[in-house]
């Protein structure tokens, strides 16, 4: 599931940057993917660990941040943490970005939410199970039938179409392309096992008509429980993604309200709402739902130090732990590169990545694909960035 906020910069990869990164000792480009969902290393360079620690675990939790402020990155990190291992002994994540386009409005009823949640959960389970068919193979007849119907009722297209995609290609990738290109799970099965899963899943289908939305949701919960997942995390994000909600925090609260009324009851059933919301909604929610927001509330505030840490962390991971700052690949004339950049940028992670990459592009343009970063590279990048943002 892609980022909930639109990508601000669609930058081509200018020739030379990957070469410079290689020269400088990077294993991959840590400044490239601006869409958190597309970045396979996201969990490795998470900063703000205390926020993650508050979000992770069985409980309702809240993360408030400005648009582009890392909510989606955090949401995806939580999701990736759920997928550790081969078994069903971790929480099951349902990434929930409201389907405003499908609804055609931004004031969904509880029923519409439940339908969308069931669809999202079914889609994730379908992809996960395609990677882990042994979860299905060990079920009895009725369990298999329940799983098959869950997919039959809730996937966006007909189940046999998806199964045929797998059968024809003997791979999972077409399934991912069709349902969620950013879904990452290790160890897909071999072609034979995949074929077997498709056949057995299809044969378990009895073709019962789809029940009422609330029953579909209950059915999803029952299936997940039967599979052994100890809890379910609803990772709600992207509520500011509709034209009506983008600049209207009250509208976001309105949209969210049916879920909030359910949140406490869900928690008793080990279904935990974890909401990633724009900062402006915090006072409104705190006023209306003071008990719900009494605990596990995190507000991400991007200080220059924290922004600098984003780059340092990415440098550390991409250099294989060899160095933890661009200072290591900067001339002695330049120190504290990350802080210099962080003080010149709009306080958002995405902007920080854009500016950092711009420094490297400037370097390649001026000096070629080798050599240490210089003060001139940084100055030129900041000047260009400031002009683009309408600065002096």
């Amino acid at each position: 599931m892609a980022s909930s906020t639109p990508t601000l910069y669609q930058m081509p990869d200018p020739s030379g940057v990957p070469e410079w990164l290689r020269w400088a000792g990077f294993r991959f480009d840590p400044f490239g993917p601006l869409d958190a969902a597309a970045d396979p290393h996201l969990s490795e360079y998470l900063v703000g660990h205390e926020v993650f620690a508050r979000v992770w675990g069985d409980g309702i939790s809240w993360v408030f941040a400005p648009a582009g402020g890392g909510k989606t990155a955090l949401r995806i990190s939580v999701m990736q943490a759920c997928w550790v291992g081969q078994e069903t002994n971790r929480p099951f994540p349902i990434p929930y970005v409201p389907p405003f386009l499908a609804w055609g409005h931004a004031r969904p009823s509880e029923e519409e939410h439940l339908m969308a949640l069931a669809r999202s959960g079914a889609r994730v389970l379908f992809l996960a199970m395609a990677h882990r068919p042994h979860w299905f193979f060990r079920l009895g007849v009725s369990g298999r039938r329940d799983v098959a119907h869950l997919f039959y009722w809730n996937l966006p297209g007909p189940l046999p179409v998806y199964l045929n995609l797998c059968r024809q290609s003997r791979q999972i990738s077409p399934l991912r392309e069709a349902l969620d290109p950013t879904f990452i799970l290790r160890d897909p099965p071999d072609g034979v096992t995949l074929q077997q899963w498709c056949d057995e899943l299809e044969s378990a289908l009895a073709g019962q008509p789809a029940p009422h939305p609330s029953e579909r949701w209950a059915h999803l919960l029952a299936v997940l429980k039967m599979l052994g997942f100890p809890s379910i995390y609803i990772l709600a994000d992207g509520f500011d993604g509709a034209p009506e909600t983008i600049d209207n925090p009250m509208m976001i609260v309105d949209c969210l309200r049916p879920l909030l009324y359910r949140a406490e009851k869900w928690a008793q059933e080990r279904v935990f709402l974890k909401a990633f919301l724009p900062t402006e909604t915090l006072p409104l929610l705190a006023e209306e739902f003071p008990l719900l927001l009494s605990d596990h509330v995190s507000v991400i505030h991007w200080t220059p130090d924290l922004l600098a840490e984003i780059i340092r962390r990415r440098v550390y991971v991409a250099s294989g732990g060899n160095f933890g700052s661009l200072d290591a690949v900067a001339s002695p004339a330049l120190r504290d590169v990350e802080i210099v950049l962080a003080r010149s940028v709009m306080p958002l992670p995405r902007e920080m990545l854009v500016l950092t990459r711009r420094v490297i592009e400037e370097h390649v343009r001026r000096e070629g694909t080798e050599g240490l970063l210089t003060g001139e590279d940084v100055e030129a990048a900041i000047s260009q960035y400031t002009q683009e943002k309408g600065g002096p």
Binding site: G25, W56, A81, V84, G85, N89, R313, G321
Partner: protein
């Protein structure tokens, strides 16, 4: 050929670490009673600070309490194919927890599933402590596989206490139980001994040298391995002992690099050629390319002898190694020690005048070297071999 023999752990030779052992004991109790609060512990610390002995002592206590332990030393897998290594580790874990050793599966995923299926049964009967040594020194190609197929799933098990030990580069685990939610044992790293404990250690391990405890502490800062090596073998051989993980055929060169760089508080590829030129008395080192300097830096990092330091904004040598090597040069080769400090002083002075934006930083470094040389002026003035040039800033 090094003549240094490192002392093997023995319960009677073990000293202190009461605080850390108490934490471990509490975790084990929680584990045995099925309470929450065990999870993942991380034991970090510099070379020779006592991680191995603490781990061994903990293992000894566990064996007395009959708590099952699986210990994996990732050093054994250095240079091996990561997939092969993880397969071997899974086989060992399976065999040691009552599962089969062979025919676990066709690939790592299937092997992992089989191991955990058997492990579930094992854990129904008893808890398990898994100790993984030399984690952070390991190849970053090995760790993601180990995380996916063993450590991540293990960390999620309620009846497992996982202890990860190592030094150097912290690995960016994906799994929160291994990173964000893991607890450091020793806050945040295992500390060297204080003077009293240094004395106690020497009374146990080198009683004839215990009267030199204060003198040894001044040299080692209380690093237990350093204490023992200096007491038994003297400074030069103590350094050899600390370099024991480096293969014999590379040790000479690595030691020379360390000697060349030990006077610096931090180094990088820009500083390496200058210091090597001063060390070897050969100006051609100054022509070294960045890539060539990087090989030196990578070599030192590979053996865990240096790491990036966020505060110093550069690479720093392992503290005890740097301390002993510099002390060795200072006392045994004072003219070389002086030349290296002089070179560093001049380099930083030059940088300070060339780079106005970072001038203050380099002046501060230059001042450090000036003070070091002044501080040890009396020692140097006794050396007949110091050149006039080497003396000129004193």
């Amino acid at each position: 050929m090094s003549t240094v023999q490192l002392l093997s752990y023995s319960p009677s030779l073990f000293v202190n670490r009461e605080q850390e052992l108490q934490i471990l004991e509490e975790r084990v109790q929680a584990l045995k009673e099925g309470r929450d609060g065990h999870g993942v512990l991380i034991l970090l610390g510099e070379r020779g600070v006592g991680k191995t002995w603490l781990r061994a002592h903990f293992e000894h206590q566990l064996s007395q309490e009959r708590v099952p332990v699986v210990r994996l030393d990732l050093k054994e897998y250095a240079g091996k194919d990561p997939a092969w290594a993880v397969a071997d580790i899974l086989q060992r874990v399976s065999a040691e927890t009552g599962g089969p050793r062979e025919r676990l599966g066709a690939d790592l995923a299937e092997m992992s599933r089989t191991v955990f299926r058997h492990l579930q049964k094992f854990l129904q009967q008893q808890p398990l402590v898994v100790i993984v040594d030399h984690v952070y020194e390991s190849d970053w190609a090995l760790l993601p596989l180990l995380e996916d197929y063993l450590l991540g799933p293990l960390a999620a098990e309620r009846r497992v206490l996982l202890l990860l030990t190592g030094r150097g580069r912290l690995y960016p685990w994906k799994n929160p139980e291994l990173s964000t939610l893991a607890d450091p044992l020793g806050k945040p790293e295992l500390k060297p001994f204080d003077p009293l404990l240094t004395k106690e250690q020497l009374q146990h391990q080198a009683p004839l040298q215990a009267h030199r405890a204060d003198e040894i502490y001044a040299l080692t800062g209380g690093n237990p391995l350093g204490n023992y090596l200096v007491a038994v073998y003297g400074l030069d051989q103590a350094v050899e002992g600390l370099l024991e993980p480096v293969p014999e055929e590379q040790r000479r060169t690595v030691r020379e690099y360390l000697e060349a760089l030990c006077v610096l508080r931090a180094f990088d590829e820009e500083r390496i050629p200058n210091m090597l030129a001063a060390y070897y008395g050969d100006a051609s080192y100054r022509q070294w390319t960045y890539a060539r300097s990087r090989r030196v830096r990578e070599e030192l990092i590979r053996w865990g002898l240096a790491r990036w330091d966020a505060e110093q904004r550069g690479y720093v040598m392992d503290r005890i190694v740097r301390q002993l090597i510099e002390r060795y040069l200072q006392t045994q080769k004072p003219e070389l020690w002086c030349r290296l400090h002089q070179t560093a002083y001049e380099l930083y002075q030059q940088w300070a005048s060339h780079y106005p934006a970072t001038r203050e930083r380099w002046l501060e470094e230059a001042e450090y070297h000036r003070q070091r040389l002044q501080e040890y002026g009396p020692l140097l003035s006794r050396s007949e071999s110091i050149s006039a040039a080497d003396r000129r800033i004193l």
